[in-house]
Symmetry: C2
Subunit: 430 residues, 2 copies
């Protein structure tokens, strides 16, 4: 017998372009999808979807979740002022308690807006991992290595220490995974890249990297390496294992071809790229070149939201606006970036991102009853162009309901907010 049956749903399984099923049921057993069809097999628990949309949970492929403690603290600044006068000084002051509080607040926001799994780059990740474990999300966690000073010693770098700890404690296969991470081309020399990449190779970890986010960075790489950032990383073998690279705003055609050939993924972060004035990534060209493009929110300091529905809609819109072509990046393609492609980028292909037999039951339910979702000629269009994170009624990971009808079932949200306001805010404002 099934553990759970979700019946009376409009199911978007993400297994084929434009496909959806009406009056369908999804069955779950032992945390996995065990039924998809139009019957209603027996189950211990039955959830009536009441005509709502049921689809795979969303995957946020690039986040700095703990930055939630700085949400709205520094907007509309020039990039260098923002980084050096606002963000970095605060980050240097944040203690583990503040970082964990920010990450927990961010998880509350992600769960409530339909995200089931996130790729996260920040500090204190072993402590954050414990909270991910407790709350029940999936995450690929990393602490990015930067080596800016001459006397950089990896053995004393907390990023190095934490990465090793994460790999040892969580490995690279479960609900919580350790990723390796090179912060970016311009923040460390190739010998450090190779060091980080050794862990990725040894452990089978994904390497998270910021790439070609700004024009300055992209062009600067030529003077530093005589190569674009992508080509420079490739020269040192960094792309020989799967890389999840954030932004890619200034990628050249040859970079896209290279990333496609190496099987690297790009986490497109359109809100952040616009807000920081970085530019607009050409995701249509990337997809054409064969790059796996997924979506990320980046940190809330440059967003200021972790609602992936915004990125889904904006990725479709911006692609059309850039190309002056309303057929660019159609709705299904945008939704695929937030599900199927995100799963691939996290090394979770075959595990999540689809509603299909044997996949983990990482499922969300989206309300279709509010005026802004009516009428509904096409549920895929409704999700991409009309829905918001606030329309999410249920979020489930591995068959466990984390959020339902406005209630968080695995965490105390009031406490999460209190911890941020009482502990983290004074540090940010100090």
């Amino acid at each position: 017998m099934l553990d759970t049956l979700i019946k009376n749903a409009v199911v978007i399984p993400m297994t084929g372009e434009g496909e959806y099923m009406k009056n369908a049921s999804v069955g779950i057993k032992d945390g996995k999808i065990a039924y998809l069809g139009h019957d209603a097999p027996e189950a211990e628990r039955v959830i009536d979807a009441d005509g709502n949309i049921v689809m795979p949970g969303l995957i946020n492929a690039h986040a700095h979740t703990a930055m939630c403690v700085m949400r709205g603290y520094a907007d509309d600044y020039a990039l260098q002022d923002w980084l050096y006068k606002k963000v970095f000084p605060v980050e240097a002051r944040l203690d583990e308690e503040a970082i964990v509080a920010g990450a927990v607040l961010g998880m509350a926001e992600m769960i409530a807006s339909g995200t089931v799994s996130f790729s996260d780059m920040y500090f204190c990740q072993p402590a954050v991992a414990k909270e991910v474990e407790r709350i029940g999300m999936k995450a690929n966690l990393c602490n990015a290595v930067l080596a800016l000073s001459e006397d950089y010693d990896p053995e004393k770098d907390r990023a190095v220490i934490e990465t090793r700890k994460l790999i040892a404690e969580y490995g690279v296969k479960g609900r919580i995974r350790a990723d390796a991470s090179i912060h970016a081309e311009y923040t460390s020399p190739p010998e450090i890249w190779k060091l980080v990449h050794e862990w990725a190779k040894d452990a089978g970890a994904i390497t998270q990297i910021h790439i070609s986010e700004t024009k300055t960075e992209h062009e600067g790489s030529y003077s530093r390496h005589g190569l674009s950032p992508a080509a420079a990383f490739d020269k040192y073998g960094i792309l020989s294992t799967p890389a999840l690279m954030a932004h890619g705003v200034w990628l050249e055609e040859s970079d896209m071809e290279l990333l496609a050939k190496r099987g690297a993924s790009i986490a497109h972060c359109p809100v952040s790229n616009l807000k920081l004035g970085s530019g607009m990534a050409d995701i249509a060209a990337m997809r054409e070149a064969g790059v796996n493009v997924c979506l990320g929110t980046d940190g809330v300091c440059s967003n200021n939201s972790l609602d992936l529905f915004e990125e889904i809609k904006l990725s479709a819109l911006l692609s059309k606006g850039e190309a002056l072509d309303p057929t660019a990046t159609p709705a299904y393609e945008a939704l695929k970036m937030a599900t199927v492609n995100g799963a691939k980028a996290q090394g979770r292909e075959g595990e999540t991102g689809m509603i299909a037999m044997g996949y983990d039951a990482d499922i969300i339910m989206i309300d279709t009853h509010a005026p802004h979702m009516k009428p509904m000629y096409d549920p895929i269009s409704a999700v991409v162009y009309s829905a918001h994170g606030s329309d999410v009624k249920m979020t489930m990971v591995e068959g466990r309901i984390l959020y339902m009808n406005g209630e968080w079932l695995t965490m105390d949200v009031e406490d999460a907010i209190r911890r941020v306001e009482e502990h983290a805010v004074p540090i940010v404002l100090a």
Copy 2:
């Protein structure tokens, strides 16, 4: 004694850049703002804002509200296919009942997402006006004149007949107002522009016009008139009275200077402009030239939402992304477009768009308690970059509450949805 006091609020009055008041109260008497301060004068009804944000209601300066019946019906098509194969054939089939049903559904959505007043261009406006009257929103309604055929007879055109009827019944001063409307430069000859403009002059009405939305339209005007659309309209005196012009994606610097000199407003519709592949309007340049820039959603067919919070955030983001400058269109400027500037564009300056003594009590309350609104270093940033329409807890027009805590108080939403689904959807799909 006050009729209503809203106490314990964070008030963003929109009366000065970056200004907000904490623990403040707003008092209302006879539908107008009669108190703003930190005391709590006596009132018949007291609403505890519980630390939520209270600000002027939003103004949607360009909508085709009744198009809600076509939400999601035709996405991701090339522009000419979209218009000629999808939108126009359906519009030709829609009857008054379907149009009114669509407009009512759209009003439900607008009210629930904080819009108090909208400028609307569509058919059957006298019938729609009765619903606006009943529901309690503000609206500037028009039916755009197009004259595409050789034997066009204005006396037989329903747009002409309806405009005259609207002007006669509602005039141009009240909660509901008649506007004149020329659809666009390319859809009628100058003699028709002059005819429409006569009404605007005689009645003191605003003229609503689509302008320079697509490159084809903008460039085509040179072959038709030897002038840009703005310069062509000006040549025939159309801009001698206040015009509210939608889009302006392809405006040249000289157009912007002209519009500024004539006191015309531009309704910026960034979502629609991207979705239809029209391009990205340079609102920073417009504002620099002195043009009054406000915000519109356009119809849901090219959006697919009437949530003005999306346009607010996107207008700020897109402006930065285009200019590669994170300081372009800061948060307060984006919020001003949706309030103060919208009021001006509707001829409602001094009446709405601010929380100030003597202004109409057109007020919204935005929830600040959800994780995505925490922490809140700056309420203006929170509204622009973090909030969604779904965070609106209360919408009030002229002191009357239209929406509160998820309930519509002046309309039957279930009935509105039923009317669309049972009557309009079969027409759309016919």
